[in-house]
Symmetry: C2
Subunit: 350 residues, 2 copies
């Protein structure tokens, strides 16, 4: 099986696991016929399901695990009690070289903690970041950090920019993504010290992305840049506020259509078109966030992903492996480290 | 004219000043027949307009000013050069007791700086906060700080909660608003130290609002609480991200309707209903943010407000004066100060 890419799937993670994960794997098999899968989870459920499906039987290996990380488990609990869980074993398979990438739709905090514990940080990165795609009028943008770190230094933000740009190159297929820091104004004097200093560092270095400076919250939906960089507190609030607003608008739209028989008729006539709106906003079409900065690849699917969402996450996983994300990150980090060395020499010689 | 409430209007503030301000004042005169207005701005434009309108002539006094604060002026510039501007003179009228409240649709940063300089902070408040209303599925919620302070201590956040609750009582007409801190999880252990400590303080004291703990970004659109409290960086990003997302969804909706002749027919049939959606999201119906924490009342209208928006801002100004916002804030501050004294005594005696 040399050259075959193996994906480690946490079959027990997500709201409708393992059924949705199994269905998603079938769909992924159709889309990417050359991948193989290790399915981690309850063997008494997974074995019959895989054996009963010719599609799954030819591409899946079931690895039985006794425990499951549930959605309410705290990260600290997951580290204490979850080391033999389906989630942890999927990540461990990446560490051991049995799989090239792990995919889980389970508890985000637990997945973060276990991934960091098992894989450790990659050289040159101090803190991991959670990245995901958000819908825009132009398509999609990558946004990070979405909650892995409550507070971030300027150095963390620079590293997030490097990692987010590498992710966007592979997942959005861009040769030179544009990158900006999220701020409360576009003028250089706005914002707190960390982002001002991060902006200075990012302006200095010629990396594989274009740093465009600051953007504001309303620029995210416009798709003003390909990669939006911020601390985990702000990023999490922005992501969830955007989700809440999309729900608000669609709820108001639903009420508007129910307002009168005429409007209801209008709704029925435009239903097909409205479906395309829903698809554009559907998290399943933007599935495949991940933890950046670890010594290995872990893709985080939405917990509520359907089979198509799981297949999308597998597609992202495949792109990340084939494009060698970790190498892309390491290359750009070297450029920034080089600039630091020059700074240091200049400081010494002056 | 004892007992008559006078509003100081910055007639030159906003994207379409002074026309929109004049039209808005006419509309406000219809809605609130007992108010009087001081219009600050270019007398050569305002005098003829007021004299030419019987409605305005009976309720307006024009005060000529030579300078105007433009939209791009930095706060520091406004303080140096804008002290005789229409904006500054409107705020000065509140300070001098000539008007009960000032309303401006001009440059937010300049208005903040001038208001703080002229009116000073009210006793017991360390930092001002910008509050405004955001639309929700339940109606509207007050959100603060929207950008006056990039970083906030736990004490600042407690003061914002007190001020935001008093604002919500008057502007949303609630006897006992619910208040929460914006966080990246609802568990007590999430978030940074400032919000954890602010939550502890807010739980201790029985004030004129119900503190419910933490909410997340997606709870804003749901209208989970009446008052959302956060630092100015996060609040500004959340507000603008919500605005950007609402634009994104309505843009996608527009494209969906244009997708096919059938969908276009559907759109035409449901146009009336869709107008109610637009109205609910229209900033003009949620106009009347303000700077809280100053020794006087300054209402900040959206810069792009239309006449109805200006009239709404005047309505908010009237509610704030009649309900005596500053007294409501002072009352709840006393409760928190009392709790602090008790804490201090306990600490000494133990």
């Amino acid at each position: 099986m040399a050259g075959t890419l193996t994906v480690a799937l946490d079959a027990m993670g997500g709201d409708s696991a393992p059924d949705v994960v199994l269905e998603g794997t079938k769909l992924a098999r159709e889309r990417y016929p050359n991948l193989r899968y290790m399915l981690f989870g309850d063997g008494s459920v997974l074995e019959p399901a895989v054996n009963g499906s010719p599609v799954l039987a030819e591409c899946c290996e079931v690895v039985h695990t006794d425990t499951v990380i549930d959605g309410s488990m705290q990260p600290s609990q997951a580290l204490r009690k979850g080391r033999e869980s389906s989630m942890a074993r999927a990540v461990q398979a990446v560490k051991d070289g049995d799989a090239a990438v792990a995919v889980s739709a389970g508890n985000t905090g637990a997945l973060m903690a276990l991934s960091k514990f098992i894989l450790r940080m990659m050289p040159g990165i101090d803190r991991p970041a959670l990245v995901s795609l958000m819908p825009t009028t132009r398509g999609e943008s990558a946004v990070l950090d979405l909650g892995a770190n409550v507070e971030c230094s300027d150095e963390n933000l620079v590293q997030f920019a490097v990692m987010g740009a590498a992710y966007a190159r592979l997942v959005l297929g861009l040769s030179r993504p544009s990158v900006a820091l999220l701020n409360i104004g576009t003028e250089e004097l706005k914002g707190h010290d960390e982002i001002k200093q991060a902006a200075e560092r990012l302006r200095e270095v010629e990396a594989h992305f274009d740093f465009t400076g600051f953007i504001e919250g309303n620029d995210i939906g416009k798709g003003a840049v390909d990669v939006v960089v911020t601390d985990g507190f702000t990023g999490n609030v922005a992501l969830k506020t955007a989700e809440g607003t999309a729900l608000l608008v669609t709820e108001l739209l639903r009420r508007a259509f129910r307002n009168s028989p005429l409007a209801m008729l209008g709704y029925l006539l435009s239903r097909g078109a409205l479906r395309s709106l829903r698809d554009h906003l559907d998290p399943n079409t933007h599935n495949g966030g991940m933890f950046l900065g670890l010594n290995g690849l872990v893709v985080k699917s939405h917990g509520g992903a359907n089979a198509a969402g799981i297949a999308s996450a597998v597609g992202v996983a495949k792109d990340l492996v084939e494009g060698d994300l970790l190498q892309l990150i390491a290359d750009d980090l070297t450029l920034f480290a080089g600039a630091l060395d020059v700074d240091a020499q200049t400081a010494v010689s002056s």
